[in-house]
C-alpha cells in the first residue's frame, strides 16, 4: 500500500501514527511546502516571547520520520491531484503515485481587500514559523504595531511580541474580543487582563483604508503604526481539491471516516469540514486536537 499525505502538521502526524498502528510496512510519503521538520504551529507565539525554542517546538522527535519509515519531501509543493492516474503532481513536475491520499493542507490567512493595504510595506500574517521569524526581524522596541483581528491568532501574536515593541493596538469589528468563543461578560474579563499588560483595543470598528503609516477606521478615527499584522481569519486551503473535482463547501467535505467525495482520497484538519457532533451541522472546526484525530481516523 502506498500512502501519500499532502501537509506536514497535526493531521499529517495523526495520519502517520494511525497508519503505523495498522500497517507497519506500507510506504508513506509526506509532501510539505514548508522546509521544516513537523512543528507545532500554535507555538509560534511562545517562540516570540521566549517560552520555547525552535528545537522544542518540534511536534515530534527528530527521529520521527525515520522511526515511522516516512519519506519526507520538504520544501515541495503539490500542484495537482490526478484522480484518474491516482497520483499527485509536484511543482517541479515530479509525480507521486498513491493508493490512498490524505489532503491535510491546512488553512491560509485571509487578507481583506482594504483600500491601500497593498501599499503597507511592513505587513505580516501570523500562521507559520516563517511568519513568526519575519515578524521578529521587523519589530524593534520602537515599533508601534497594529493588529487587525482580536481573535485567537491576533491575540496570541500580541502576547508573543508585547514585551518587545513600544505599543500594540488591536482593532476588531466585533463588540468584544475573542468573539467566536466568549460572550460579552467573559470577553470583558479577558480584555481587562490583556489591557493591564499595556495592549490597547478598538472594538466595533474596522479599518477602511490605509495610507503610509496610518490606518483610517470606519468611525473616522485613525491609528498610526509602523507594523501591521493581519489576523482577521483564515481560509481552508481547498484549491487542490476543487481543481480535482472533489466536493468542497467552506472546507473539503468529509464524512465520519474523513473520506472525501473521491475514492481513496481523505481530508483532515483545517482544510476540511465535517459534522460537528455538538450541533449536528457541518463546519470547519480548526483546532489542533481535531486535526490530529481526523488525521488518525483517516487510514
Amino acid at each position: 500500500m502506498r500512502y501519500v499525505i499532502i501537509g506536514n502538521s497535526a493531521a499529517a502526524v495523526g495520519c502517520i501514527e494511525g497508519i503505523r498502528k495498522l500497517d507497519k510496512t506500507g510506504s508513506i510519503t509526506v509532501i510539505s511546502s514548508e522546509n521544516y521538520h513537523t512543528y507545532s504551529r500554535p507555538l509560534i507565539s511562545y517562540l516570540l516571547c521566549g517560552k520555547t525554542t525552535e528545537q522544542k517546538m518540534k511536534y515530534r522527535p527528530d527521529s520521527f520520520y525515520e522511526d515511522n519509515k516516512v519519506a519526507l519531501l520538504a520544501g515541495k509543493k503539490a500542484v495537482r491531484i490526478d484522480k484518474g492516474k491516482k497520483q499527485v503532481v509536484l511543482e517541479d513536475g515530479m509525480e507521486i503515485p498513491y493508493d490512498k491520499l490524505l489532503i491535510a493542507t491546512g488553512s491560509d490567512p485571509f487578507i481583506p481587500p482594504i483600500e491601500g493595504i497593498d501599499t503597507v510595506e511592513k505587513k505580516f500574517t501570523f500562521m507559520s514559523l516563517n511568519d513568526a521569524k519575519e515578524l521578529e526581524k521587523a519589530i524593534s522596541p520602537k515599533s508601534r504595531v497594529l493588529i487587525m483581528g482580536a481573535g485567537l491568532i491576533g491575540l496570541k501574536c500580541a502576547e508573543g511580541i508585547a514585551r518587545k515593541v513600544k505599543s500594540i493596538t488591536v482593532v476588531d469589528m466585533a463588540d468584544r474580543i475573542l468573539s467566536s468563543i466568549l460572550d460579552l461578560d467573559a470577553a470583558s474579563i479577558v480584555q481587562w487582563h490583556i489591557e493591564s499588560k499595556g495592549i490597547k483595543f478598538i472594538l466595533s470598528d474596522s479599518v477602511v483604508s490605509f495610507s503610509p503609516g496610518k490606518a483610517v477606521l470606519k468611525s473616522g478615527r485613525s491609528v498610526s503604526f509602523d507594523i501591521l499584522v493581519v489576523a482577521v481569519g483564515v481560509r481552508p486551503n481547498t484549491k487542490l481539491a476543487i481543481d480535482a473535482g472533489i466536493e468542497v463547501a467552506r472546507g473539503i467535505v468529509t464524512d465520519e471516516h474523513c473520506r472525501t467525495s473521491a475514492d481513496d482520497i481523505y481530508a483532515a484538519g483545517d482544510c476540511s469540514e465535517s459534522i460537528d457532533v455538538v450541533t449536528g451541522e457541518r463546519r470547519v472546526l480548526a483546532l489542533l486536537p481535531n486535526a490530529y484525530m481526523q488525521g488518525e481516523c483517516s487510514p
Binding site: G14, S40, P42, L43, Y46, K51, T52, K56, M57, K58, Y59, R60, P61, L288, P289, Y292, M293, E296
Partner: protein, 142 residues
C-alpha cells in the same frame, strides 16, 4: 501492562495516597522535611462525597485524548505509560480540558503534571499503592 486500579469500596478517605505521592515526587528523603508546612499538589487525589470516596489518578488510557490533543508533543506514550516532557510543555492546558477523568493538573512552574507510575522517582513501584493501608489502590495487570 500493570496499571493502578482503585477499589472504591475499600477506600477509607484517609488521603494517605496523596501524601505518599507528594513525598515520592518531592525529591526529598525525609517525609517530614518534604511535607511539613507544605501545601501538597499530588498527582492522585481523593474524590469524596458523603460516604463514597475513591482515589483518582491517570488511567494511562490505551487511546489517550491528552496525548492526541497535546499541541506541543510534550505528552507521549512510553512503554504504555503516558509521560510528560515538562521542559517541552508550555502550559496551554489542552490536556487538562481533554482528560475525561481530571487526572492532569497544573503545577507551580507552569507545565502540567500527571502520574507517571513513579518511574521517574526513586520508588520503583507507585508510592500511593505501597502506602495504601487498606488495599484500596492496587497495581496490577487486568
Amino acid at each position: 501492562m500493570k496499571r493502578i486500579f482503585v477499589n472504591e469500596k475499600w477506600c477509607l478517605g484517609c488521603h494517605l495516597c496523596e501524601y505518599n505521592c507528594a513525598f515520592a515526587n518531592s525529591g526529598e528523603s525525609d517525609m517530614v522535611k518534604a511535607l511539613k508546612d507544605v501545601k501538597i499538589n499530588p498527582l492522585i487525589t481523593i474524590e469524596q462525597k458523603g460516604n463514597v470516596c475513591f482515589a483518582v489518578g491517570c488511567r494511562h488510557c490505551k487511546s489517550p485524548l491528552c496525548v492526541k490533543g497535546c499541541i506541543t508533543g510534550a505528552l507521549t506514550v512510553q512503554n504504555g505509560i503516558i509521560t510528560i516532557d515538562r521542559d517541552k510543555c508550555v502550559g496551554c492546558y489542552t490536556c487538562i480540558l481533554s482528560c475525561p477523568y481530571g487526572a492532569i493538573m497544573p503545577s507551580e512552574d507552569g507545565a502540567v503534571q500527571k502520574c507517571e507510575l513513579c518511574v521517574k522517582n526513586t520508588c520503583g513501584e507507585p508510592a500511593c499503592v505501597a502506602g495504601c493501608p487498606n488495599g484500596a489502590i492496587v497495581f496490577e495487570e487486568r
